[in-house]
Every structure is written in structure tokens, then in C-alpha cells.
């Protein structure tokens, strides 16, 4: 038992070391003075942003609307019963903007883009595309990893704010059918409860979650060695680890910012 625990701890430490190395390499590629491959890397970044950010808008909108509808309907119908109408703004800010918005956005990005990144890189590994790139002098860190990390981070931050806006405003419009609270009262309550810290924390979560998801998914894609059957295995592991690490980061950020 102690041996197993020790081995798991060492494995976990090595895993986090590998992920940290990817983050370091990405930062080094971002700030390195070499101009070679900048345009090619920019094209990869834009293509990844289109897929991760723009193409995700319909599904983000639908899920944000449904979440907003549920939370606003529950808050708007239950709070007046206990005389808590004044708390509706706080409930929405705490539940949607601080917690569920960032987490659900991260889960959607993991499900759509994270899995796609792991699958793509895994298939590239098996087909020797990565080796071929290295052999023509193209660094995987610059052409493969850095553009994906940058694109996922930027997309994640934008999608989180978009998710919050759609969930709060769209959710209210739909819930208006049932609610008796006028929009200006609702908007005022949300605005009063929302602070600059909430906006900054959302941005910080976007950057942390985006970095974690992109790095984990790239790492597992590159772990594939020689068989296509390894690709779904690594994709599943990448997805589970991404979700777990996003939850851990969420706890750390929440405790740091609000405790």
C-alpha cells in the first residue's frame, strides 16, 4: 500500500513536471527572438482559434441559455418566498459568473477541442508526421504546441465572458415569461453584486484553464507512440486529467480570491 502510494506520488510529480516543461517551452517560444516560422505558427493559431472559439459559439450559447434559465428561474421563484429578492444578483454572480460559467466553458472546450487536439496529435505521431516535421527542421514546440496553447487560452477567456453574458442576459429573457421581476431591477441587482475582482478572477480562470487543457491534451497526443489504438486511450486520459486539473485550479483560485 505504501509502495503503491509512493509510486503514484512519483508518477504524479513526473506528470506535473512534464506539463510544466510544456508550459515553459510555450512561453520560451512566445518570447524567443527567432522569426523563423512565425507566420506559419500564426496561421496554425488562427485556425485553432476558429475551431476552439468561433465554432464553439452555438453550443456555448445553447448551454449558457439553458443554465441561465435554470438558475434564474430557481432564484427568481424561490427567493421571493423567503423574502430574499435582494439576493438574486448575488446568487447569479456567485453561481453563474464565478463558478458554473468558467467550469462549464472549460468542460465544453475540453470535450470539443481538447479531445480533438489529442486525437490529431496522436494520429500525427502514428503517421510519422511529427517525425517528418522535426526532420525538416520544424520545431514541434513552435509549430504544434505553442499555437495551440495560445489559441486555446485566448478562446477560453473570450468564451467564458461570452458564456456569462449569454447565461445572465439570455437566461433572464427566457425566464421573463415566468418571472415578475422587471429587467432594470434584475440588471441593477447583478451589476451591484458584480465586482472587478469577479471579472479579473474569470479572466484568470480562463487563462489557467486554457493553459491546462491545451498543455495536457498536447502532452497526451504526443505520448502516442506506434499504434492507432493508443489514440482513444490517450484522449480519454487527457479528458479526465483536464477535468480534474481544471477543478483543482478552480478550487485554488476561488480559495485565493474569495476566502
Amino acid at each position: 500500500m505504501i509502495g503503491w502510494l509512493g509510486q503514484r506520488t512519483i508518477d504524479g510529480y513526473l506528470y506535473l513536471t512534464d506539463l510544466s516543461a510544456h508550459v515553459y517551452v510555450t512561453l520560451r517560444e512566445l518570447i524567443s527572438p527567432g522569426r523563423q516560422g512565425r507566420w506559419a505558427a500564426l496561421r496554425v493559431t488562427l485556425r485553432q482559434m476558429l475551431f476552439t472559439g468561433v465554432d464553439a459559439l452555438p453550443v456555448i450559447s445553447a448551454i449558457a441559455l439553458m443554465l441561465g434559465l435554470i438558475v434564474i428561474t430557481q432564484a427568481g421563484t424561490q427567493l421571493p418566498k423567503v423574502g430574499g429578492e435582494g439576493l438574486i444578483g448575488s446568487i447569479i454572480v456567485v453561481v453563474i459568473i464565478r463558478e458554473l460559467g468558467p467550469l462549464l466553458t472549460a468542460f465544453i472546450v475540453i470535450g470539443r477541442s481538447g479531445t480533438a487536439i489529442t486525437t490529431e496529435l496522436g494520429n500525427m505521431r502514428v503517421a510519422q508526421e511529427i517525425t517528418a516535421l522535426e526532420l525538416i527542421g520544424i520545431r514541434v514546440s513552435r509549430y504544434i504546441i505553442m499555437p495551440r496553447v495560445v489559441a486555446v487560452v485566448l478562446s477560453m477567456v473570450c468564451l467564458m465572458f461570452y458564456f456569462d453574458a449569454v447565461a445572465v442576459l439570455g437566461g433572464f429573457i427566457i425566464a421573463r415569461i415566468k418571472l415578475t421581476i422587471p429587467f432594470h431591477v434584475f440588471a441593477q441587482a447583478v451589476a451591484q453584486s458584480l465586482s472587478l475582482v469577479d471579472v479579473l478572477v474569470t479572466a484568470a480562470k480562463g487563462m489557467l484553464f486554457g493553459t491546462a487543457v491545451a498543455v495536457i491534451c498536447c502532452h497526451h497526443g504526443l505520448l502516442v507512440r506506434s499504434s492507432y489504438t493508443e489514440v482513444p486511450q490517450q484522449t480519454t486520459t487527457a479528458m479526465i486529467n483536464s477535468v480534474t486539473i481544471c477543478l483543482v485550479l478552480d478550487i485554488l483560485v476561488t480559495v485565493t480570491a474569495y476566502f
Binding site: 523563423q36 506559419a40 517528418a132 522535426e134 527542421g137
Partner: protein, 254 residues
């Protein structure tokens, strides 16, 4: 530069084999050396050692005046821009057409515009018979066409060294003739060193300056084709195409 490639007592483990490779080889700039021998004899391993894909357990590998052991990632990437490599698996980007695959090193390393790309890339594609296939994706190509595309990608950068692993495998007779013509013309136009592997007789044998016969991770014989063809080693005769009666040229022609 005295040697384009210099391997000194280089030893490396061979996956799945009890023996390990042990090479000492020097290739002069501009020389064309062919490695022949059975599959899993270490020919591909020798090329991988030369391009830094495999690290030797012992010995030194010097390529284009660089000791590979002393190079960091960046240095190795810079060196690889001067080396064209074709592996048995072509490794073309599956989401790019044949044309964009061939252009990739030029676009990435030299940032060349589209209008300047075509005059550089199209002659290579035409010489290899790939021009009509330029808009196809790798999945729509035959194995031979994909290998020719990988060769085209290696040739467009005007490299100083070409490492070609089984470049003739899977090619039809016309493609073999085209590749032979292209490599001959390329050698005439560029001061390039070529190290290539073969496991079947090919017209390239007669164009090589030297031929090395590799078996079980060791270079067993080495010399010009004319000298090697006189060997009494029947295993070597098979790979040189001289053990089946008649000359190589007549058999290939037939």
C-alpha cells in the same frame, strides 16, 4: 570540411534484436553512398543516427562539421534544415495537399511568398511526375506517389546532404526511372552528398560512388559497384542484382 558524414565506432541498440549496430563510416562531400542489405540489418538505423533521431550509446557522429552530441534542440533544428530526409513512411501532413506539403519547409523556414513558390516547386513536381497530383491530399496518393512527394519536399530546400531510406520501395518502373533521373540531375546541379539505402536492385546502384553492404548492424563490404559486383558472397550478389545471371542493366531493362 573533410567529411560530410563521419561515424566513428558508433554503437546503438537495435529494437527487437539481440545484436547492436556498430558503424564506422566516412562519406566525403559530394559523394553518393548506397547502403544495401537485408531488412532489419541496421541501414535505416544508420540514417537515423546521422540525423539525430537515434542517439548512439557509444561513439561520435559528425554531420556537416557538427558533432551531433554537442547540439541542443535549436542547433539540431538548424542543422536539419541543411539535410533532406526521406523515411519509409513519408510523414506528409494529412490536412495539406501534396503541393502545400512540398512547399511547407520553404514557407516555414524562408517565408517565401506564393508567387515565388511556384517557380521553385513546380519544376521538382514536374520532374517527379507529381504535377497532375498537386491538389490531392496524402490519403488520395499511392505509397509510391507519397514517397515521391516526400522526396520532392526534401529536394526543394537545396540541401547539402540527402538521407534517403528505401526511396525506391513501392515505386512503379516509370517512377523508378524518374527518381533516378531527378537524383542524377540534382547531383549535377548541386554539390550534394547522398546516403541512401536499398533492399532491392535499382538503377541507383550504378550511379553510386560507393556501395556498402550491411548485415546484422555491421558494414561487411564497401567499394564501387564494379568491384562489389565481382564478389563471391551470394547474399551480396542478390542485393546488387548480380547473382541472378547477366548484368544489372539487362535485368532491369527486361
Amino acid at each position: 570540411m573533410q567529411f560530410a558524414i563521419e561515424l566513428t565506432n558508433v554503437q546503438a541498440e537495435m529494437d527487437g534484436e539481440e545484436w547492436h549496430v556498430d558503424f564506422t563510416l566516412a562519406v566525403k562531400p559530394g559523394e553518393f553512398v548506397l547502403l544495401v542489405g537485408p531488412g532489419r540489418s541496421g541501414k535505416g538505423m544508420l540514417l537515423k543516427l546521422c540525423v539525430g533521431l537515434v542517439e548512439p550509446a557509444q561513439g561520435t557522429v559528425r554531420v556537416l562539421d557538427h558533432d551531433l552530441a554537442t547540439l541542443d534542440d535549436e542547433g539540431l533544428s538548424e542543422l536539419r534544415q541543411r539535410i533532406g530526409v526521406v523515411l519509409p513512411q513519408p510523414g506528409l501532413r494529412s490536412n495539406m495537399t501534396l503541393y502545400t506539403n512540398v512547399c511547407l519547409p520553404l514557407v516555414y523556414h524562408q517565408g517565401i511568398d506564393e508567387e515565388d513558390l511556384r517557380p521553385r516547386v513546380m519544376p521538382v513536381l514536374e520532374a517527379l511526375g507529381l504535377a497532375p497530383l498537386q491538389k490531392r491530399f496524402p490519403a488520395q496518393l499511392t505509397a509510391g506517389e507519397a514517397r515521391c512527394a516526400a522526396l520532392a519536399r526534401a529536394l526543394v530546400m537545396d540541401q547539402q546532404l540527402l538521407l534517403l531510406d528505401e526511396v525506391m520501395a513501392g515505386l512503379d518502373a516509370e517512377m523508378v526511372a524518374r527518381v533516378d533521373r531527378v537524383l542524377t540531375a540534382y547531383r549535377r546541379a548541386h554539390p550534394v552528398t547522398i546516403l541512401a539505402t536499398l533492399h532491392n536492385p535499382s538503377p541507383l546502384l550504378e550511379h553510386a560512388d560507393r556501395i556498402a553492404f550491411i548485415r546484422q548492424g555491421r558494414i561487411e563490404a564497401m567499394g564501387p559497384y564494379a568491384d562489389m559486383a565481382k564478389t563471391s558472397d551470394t547474399a551480396l550478389q542478390v542485393y546488387l542484382g548480380s547473382g541472378l545471371g547477366g548484368g544489372l542493366g539487362s535485368r532491369l531493362a527486361s
